[in-house]
């Protein structure tokens, strides 16, 4: 662990922000005020933050339907996100996108995506753009264990290899695609990372519930990619704490599974244990961050609720730049 105090506190703050943002949504959705489909990222915080903590604004990411965590980790404005999810005029995408379609180019977040598997080829294109600019930046596709079964993902991996694009495929294996288990849906008798290897790129594996394991593995991976080694992949073994989307009865879970993963694989608890055992941070400091984050989420929520809706007169604007 070579991270300094500020880096550690920042990492915790980002993970706590994701956790509280999502937990608040989980509660708010029950009130019926939030429309549409919402896929919560709780449980996977260490994955998004452990990856994005290595990135600058010029490094690009493309996200998924479960994208709130990626957005927060990459630096999207939390209040703008909340307004977007509430479908408000001043949301990050003017209320047109909603939970599944948040984008913020100003922080290098090229967009969440409702089409599973659509992001990986886009990350290759983005990586070709960074390669052409020649400043050592990378582009990252976040994909789930389900998305890795789309032909688009396979094509993207091969294209990245043949073009030596500085593209990184981050596979967040939370063991489920909707109601189907990864054991069934991914047919390789090994894992997802081995698929990436089969396409001819280097692949890493890490514990996506442990910030430090993810962060440190990503350091090696990025050294390879930024050093001109071509594309790479990482499979992060992680968990989703809530249903696929809000309202999912989760009948596919094993008995006691949710209790077990919450007890054993909670990224925030693991972080606290790691920094506590090593004597790096005081638990009181982390409690203080939790309280600050709560204030932020309280504000974001009340501001989003009070914010004006979009004007229906503008429904068909922004279809083209110029028409």
């Amino acid at each position: 662990m070579q991270l300094g105090r500020d880096a550690l506190l920042g990492a915790y703050r980002r993970m706590a922000t994701i956790r509280q943002f999502e937990e608040r949504l989980h509660d708010e959705i029950k009130t019926g005020e939030i429309a549409g489909f919402t896929h919560l990222y709780c449980g996977q915080e260490a994955a998004a933050v452990g990856v994005c903590d290595h990135l600058s604004t010029e490094d690009l990411i493309v996200s998924t339907h479960r994208g709130h965590g990626h957005c927060i980790a990459k630096g999207c404005d939390v209040k703008g996100m909340m307004k977007e999810i509430y479908g408000r005029r001043d949301g990050l995408c003017k209320g047109r996108g909603g939970s599944m379609h948040i984008a913020d180019l100003s922080v290098g977040m090229l967009g969440a995506n409702g089409i599973v598997g659509a992001g990986a080829p886009q990350a290759v294109g983005a990586a070709l753009a960074t390669k052409l600019r020649g400043q050592g930046h990378v582009a990252i596709a976040f994909s789930g264990d389900g998305a890795c079964n789309q032909g688009t993902t396979f094509e993207a991996m091969n294209l990245a290899v043949v073009t030596k694009a500085p593209a990184i495929f981050v596979f967040e294996n939370n063991h489920y695609s909707e109601h189907t288990g990864v054991q069934y849906a991914v047919g390789t008798d090994r894992d997802i990372a081995s698929r990436a290897e089969a396409f001819g790129m280097k692949a890493w594996r890490a514990n996506g519930c442990d910030y430090f394991d993810t962060y440190e593995t990503m350091r090696d991976l990025l050294e390879h990619v930024r050093g001109g080694g071509g594309p790479a992949a990482i499979e992060l073994d992680t968990e989703r704490f809530y249903g696929h989307f809000e309202g999912d009865p989760q009948r596919y879970r094993g008995e006691g599974e949710l209790d077990r993963i919450r007890a054993e694989r909670d990224a925030l608890k693991i972080f606290r244990a790691r920094v506590g055992d090593a004597g790096l941070l005081d638990m009181a400091e982390l409690d203080a961050i939790d309280a600050e984050v709560k204030t932020l989420i309280d504000e974001a929520t009340s501001e989003a609720r009070a914010a004006p809706p979009p004007d229906p007169a503008h429904v068909a604007e922004d279809v083209y730049v110029d028409y």
Partner: protein, 336 residues
């Protein structure tokens, strides 16, 4: 006759047809649910609840959960149909034709013609479509216009439980690829469904009501919107011929033209963007074939020429509404 909703009608029809014909298989994402999980299979029976109970009855060789691979799902259905099965493939959201389009467009639709009439591809693709759930730009579209434009595909949009049964059964007896569109906001619509074998021919529109003053032509969820508008008009003594197309390919031109010849005034309502839509298609047919009967220009009420927005206010503004339909009807009626 039993009363049930569209969801149940589809589920029971699949069940009955699979019992009748062992060559029918079902495939798609989570059509069983729970494969490879500790919770076990039959965890969901389709996220729309339309395929529940099929796995328990017919087993894993005929009710197949697939990975997230729409191109392979539809392609496998095409191949299975060529090889003599009757696959029913589910696209959880019709928007996902984007991922699978080649298999629909260049493959399934063209086999019979391209191969000199020698092959049959009796695949049914179930597409769950439509706005109304604030599911935003990639989970709300009514992509039937695109598939209607492709020669070789039949395009079916039931709006009642009886039609759902009759047309699904028809699809499973026919020998052509059928795009079976299920509107997500109509699953709960209840109605009487005939017991036993029952088929509804394609290309035969449903006259929802006859009124003689103005013609409304529509399909899918917009049938209900038109009924609301027609009720308002009826309160003012205006009679509406309301035509539910049932299928956009084949298209029952005769039903449309017969009505327009009598009313001379037509409003066409379509839950799609306006350009190259089914509404535009029908307006062109009416202009070409019923020109001398028309007393007013045909009027189209459609979605906007934009993707479908997320926010409630915007989605509502994007869609046709009973009010817009009523206004359009009054407009064509007032035209001199």
């Amino acid at each position: 006759m039993a009363v049930m909703n569209i969801r149940e009608a589809i589920n029971r029809t699949l069940y009955e047809e699979m019992e009748r014909d062992p060559s029918i298989i079902v495939l798609g994402e989570d059509v069983v649910g729970g494969a490879g999980t500790a919770g076990g299979q039959e965890a969901i029976g389709g996220i729309w609840g339309t395929t529940g109970g099929l796995f328990a009855k017919f087993g894993g060789d005929r009710v197949i959960d697939t990975p997230i691979s729409e191109s392979a799902i539809v392609g496998a259905a095409a191949g299975a149909a060529l090889a003599g099965l009757r696959p029913v493939a589910e696209l959880m959201f019709a928007d996902f034709i984007g991922v699978s389009l080649d298999q629909l467009w260049n493959q399934m639709a063209k086999f019979r013609y391209m191969f000199g009439g020698k092959t049959k591809c009796p695949a049914v693709v179930r597409l769950i479509y439509g706005a109304g759930m604030n599911a935003a730009a990639q989970h709300s579209q009514s992509v039937y216009a695109l598939l209607t434009a492709m020669p070789g595909l039949k395009v079916v949009l039931p709006t009642t439980p009886a039609d759902a049964k009759g047309m699904l059964s028809e699809a499973l007896h026919g020998d052509d690829p059928v795009m079976f569109f299920e509107h997500k906001a109509l699953y709960g619509v209840k109605g009487e469904v005939p017991d036993g074998p029952f088929r509804q021919r394609f290309g035969e529109a449903r006259m929802v009501r006859e009124g003689g003053d103005v013609t409304m032509v529509t399909c899918g969820r917009m049938v209900g919107f038109c009924e609301k508008a027609a009720d308002k008009l009826a309160a003012d003594g205006i009679g509406t011929d309301l035509i539910d197309l049932r299928t956009t390919s084949p298209l029952d031109e005769e039903a449309i033209l017969d009505s327009v010849e009598q009313t001379g005034r037509i409003v066409i309502v379509d839950e799609s963007p306006p350009r190259c839509s089914v509404a535009a298609d029908i307006a062109a047919i009416v202009a070409e074939k019923a020109f001398t009967s028309l007393k007013a220009p045909p009027r189209m009420i459609t979605g906007q020429h934009s993707p479908i927005p997320f926010a409630r206010e915007l989605e509502r503004a994007w869609l046709p509404s009973p009010q817009k339909i009523e206004d359009a009807a009054r407009h064509v009626l007032a035209f001199r």
